[in-house]
Structure formats: structure tokens, C-alpha cells
Amino acid sequence: MNNKSNSVKNILSGFIIIVIAAGLTFLGYRSLSRKQVTESENPYEYNIEAFLDIPANLIHYSEIKKINTGLKNNYGIAVDSLKQLYVTGDSSVIIFDAEGAVHSSFSLPASANCIAVDKKFTIYLGILNHVEVYDFTGKRTAGWEPLEENSYITSIAASPENVYVADAGKQIVLRYDKSGTLLNRIGDKDEARDIPGFIVPSPYFDVAIDPDGFIWVVNPGRQSLENYNPNGDLRSFWGTASMRLEGFSGCCNPSHIALLPDGSFVTSEKGLERVKVHNRIGEFVSVVAPPKLFTRGTVGLDLAADADGLIYVLDPKAGCVRIFQKTNDRQV
């Protein structure tokens, strides 16, 4: 009886010792692996990795050309009806022909933040708080009266009859005739006219003209685009605040827009550097350039589009203009 009892005790003792040893081994392994994680990872990392990877089936454009501007600081681009590319930066303007070769260049009295070209090849430049006008040969033809104190011009759009100037400092768009006479203001907050007013937290405030001649203005603080008549009546708007592809990220995006010939929108963002296309009613269609194409922290991805639907993206950190062509018609 005693022998049997002793053998049961021995088995129990052995079992308990094995369980304790296994437990200690497990705890030791766990603490070691935890230490490795702590040393290699930042527990407070601001992580947006999930938004940097774009599935390949959502990218319907491919980069077909890269034009190095040769400028240290690149601020704005425009494309004319002959597919000539205008780049401004470093107190100068460089004109590239449709093949990407330098056609000509000229100097400016100061750096221009933005540039627009109309169908007569007249060049409009936003320099701090006023507009300067040049012809195609680089001859200065006019300098418009400076805007108010604290004004800061971030975008210009030129139609056959009008020039629209986006003033980020005063959060307003100004409509001029071609001689520089101010015609009216667009976007002043007016509840009676259902105009919400522009919110521009940072100096990115873009305007563009659609194929029907109406003006589209980014309301970056509302992550939306608003459509106005030339007289300033609000026609429509669209936009969603979201880091997902259907929306615009951060406090103030999109930073730049352009219109495609079919009325679709090309948008670029800062913070989460990406270029996308939305259709005429604002639905996400495609990614043009994914975030991983750009150096993190790139801002000022100015956009232009030509009559063939090619999309031009200014990449200031890389010092180049990237040209994208549609390659895939798959819809999301």
C-alpha cells in the first residue's frame, strides 16, 4: 500500500515540477520577446502605413514621362492648348515643348506661387499679393494692383473672358476681366445665398475652370470642392473628410485640383501624398499616383491636365514634373 502511495506521490511531484518548469520557460520567453518588441518599435508611432499601400487594381494610370525642371524650388505648373508645359519657381518661368524639351525661359522680379495660361498664350502669375502678366516671349505686359494686406495668392485660373484669383490670406476668390479690373468676389460667407465661406487653414487654396466654363474652388477646411457661377452663386459641391480613397485627408485637402476634358477631377493631397481622379459627381474613380511614389513630406503637388487627358503632376521634392497617362479602364 505504502509503495503504491509513494509512487503516486512521485508521479504528482514530477508532474508539478514539469508544469512549473514549463511555466517558467514560457514566462522567460515571453519577457524576452516583449523586450525585443519594445526596443525595436515605437509604441507611440503615428502610423498611416495602412493608407500608403494602394492596391494595383485601383491605379489606372502609369507614369509615361518625367521632366526635370532644373529649378531648386518648384511652385506651380500650367499646360496650354498645344501641350506646352509652363513651370514656375526660383523667380523664373520655364516653358517646355510637347516633347519635354526646354523651349524658352524668362526671369521674374520674385518667385511666383502659381501660374495660368489662357488660349492666347497669355501667362498670369501670382506673386505674393499681386498678379503679373507676361506674353509667350517672356515680355511683361501688365502688373495688376496688389490685393489687400495679408493677401496671399495661391492659384490662378484663366478662362477666355475672366481671370480667377484665389487669395488664401483673405479666403476669397476674386474675378477679374483680362485687363485686371476686379469684377466681383466669390465665396464670401452668405447664409441667404447658402454660401458657407471658404476655410483655408494653410496656404493651399486652388481654383480651376471646368469644360463648361464654371469655376471650381477647393474649400480645404471642409475637404470639399465647390462650384460657382461667374457671378458668385453656389451651384454644387462635393467632398468627404476621410483618409480612405473616397475622401480627402487631414485638415486641409485637396491641396490642388485640375479638370480633365470630360469634366472629371484630378486631386492631390498633402500629408498623405496621393493623386486621384474623381468623376463629375465626385465619386472616386482611380488613383493616379500612390503615396509611395513621392518622398514623405512632399507638399505642393500642383496639377495640370491637357486636352488628351494626360495628367501633369509637379513633384517639388524630386524637382520634376511627372506625366501620367490612363492605362486601365477598370472601374471600382
Binding site: 515605437n42 507611440y44 495602412a50 494692383e145 485638415c251 500629408g271
Partner: protein
């Protein structure tokens, strides 16, 4: 352009903004005064250069104090008062509200208050702030960079060899005069007193 002759007025937002700026200035001024009484002229103390800071979290885990003497500071004049705040909201949040899952701050140290549509004000609860810089990175990435880290000298024990400075990978810890110990975002500081020496206090 015709001259605007309409009388100047202060809207609600600018009134609140000015009030907050004044409050922040008075608070920091008081702390600076407190610091001055603890130091003599010519003393140098540690501070973080906001333009060099890379938001690596070392300030949260290397300070000899817990929570760290490094706190997030808000430059209200630079803030956009945005509804969607990169420094407050979790990336990809589905709702722009104050729910825990929508917030970026791991310690709930940022308070979000409605001002007027669509503006929101963000204030730092320093008792809860651990100086992890998660909000600083979010604000800098998507916003105006109005959030930044500073060593609060009413909390800092002025170690002779600051443990965070020794571990800072960005060389962002600099020596500044004890009677002017803060480096604000957007501030033009006249003399380059900030140096990256690791000298004595």
C-alpha cells in the same frame, strides 16, 4: 482695389483665439518667471528645438520623471481650428467625434471643444500629457504644425546630464538661457543662443 473703410470688428472666433493666446502667454510667462527665480543670470537650461524634433517618442520614455517633463504645447495662432484634426483624430477614423476610438492621444490629454461651425478648439491637459509626440506628428503631417513639444521648466528637475538629450536621435535638444527658456513655433529668435552642446547647467 478700393480701400475697405468698414469698421474693424472682432468675431467670436478671433475673440476666443486672442483670449487663449493671452492666457497661454500669461501661463508661460508665469512659468518663465518661476524658472527665473530658481536660476541666476547666465544659467542655461535644456529645451527642444521644434524645428529639429522628429517626434520619435524618446522624450516620453527617457525622462527621469514620470510622466515626462516634456509636454505638448499648442501655438493657437497657428492652429486651423479644424473639424478634422490630424493631431487629435486617429488616422482613418470613421467619425469626427470625441469617442475614445476616434482619438489619437494615448492618454486622452487633448480636449476638443466646439467653437462655431465648423471650428473646434484643441487644448492640452498637461497633467495627462506624457510627451509622446504622437499628436505633434499628426499635426505636422496634415495640419499647420501648431502642436510641438517643450520642456516645462516648472516640472523639469534640470538634471546635469539630461537623459532625454543623451538619447535624442535628432540633436533637437539645445541649451537656452534660463531666463528665456522656451522656443516657440513660428517665433523669430534673435540671437542663436540655442546650441547643441552637452555642457553644464
Amino acid at each position: 482695389m478700393p480701400e475697405d473703410k468698414s469698421p474693424k470688428y472682432h468675431d467670436r472666433r478671433s475673440f476666443i483665439k486672442n483670449g487663449l493666446n493671452t492666457t497661454a502667454a500669461l501661463a508661460l510667462g508665469g512659468i518663465a518667471g518661476f524658472t527665473i527665480t530658481r536660476s541666476t543670470k547666465g544659467d542655461m537650461v535644456w529645451q527642444i528645438d521644434p524645428d529639429k524634433c522628429i517626434q520619435c517618442e524618446k522624450c516620453a520614455i527617457n525622462c527621469v520623471l514620470y510622466p515626462s517633463a516634456v509636454k505638448c504645447v499648442h501655438a493657437y495662432a497657428m492652429c486651423g481650428y479644424c473639424k478634422l484634426c490630424g493631431g487629435y483624430h486617429q488616422p482613418g477614423t470613421k467619425r469626427l467625434d470625441t469617442a475614445a476610438e476616434s482619438q489619437l492621444c494615448p492618454t486622452n490629454a487633448i480636449k476638443r471643444t466646439f467653437v462655431e461651425n465648423p471650428y473646434f478648439e484643441y487644448t492640452i491637459d498637461e497633467k495627462l500629457c506624457i510627451g509622446c509626440a504622437k499628436c505633434v506628428k499628426g499635426c505636422g503631417s496634415f495640419g499647420n504644425g501648431s502642436l510641438f513639444l517643450q520642456v516645462r521648466h516648472d516640472i523639469c528637475v534640470n538634471c546635469n546630464e539630461c537623459n532625454i538629450a543623451l538619447n535624442c536621435p535628432a540633436d533637437a535638444w539645445v541649451r537656452v538661457p534660463a531666463d528665456n527658456p522656451y522656443l516657440f513655433r513660428g517665433e523669430v529668435r534673435e540671437s542663436p543662443t540655442a546650441t547643441s552642446e552637452s555642457g553644464d547647467v
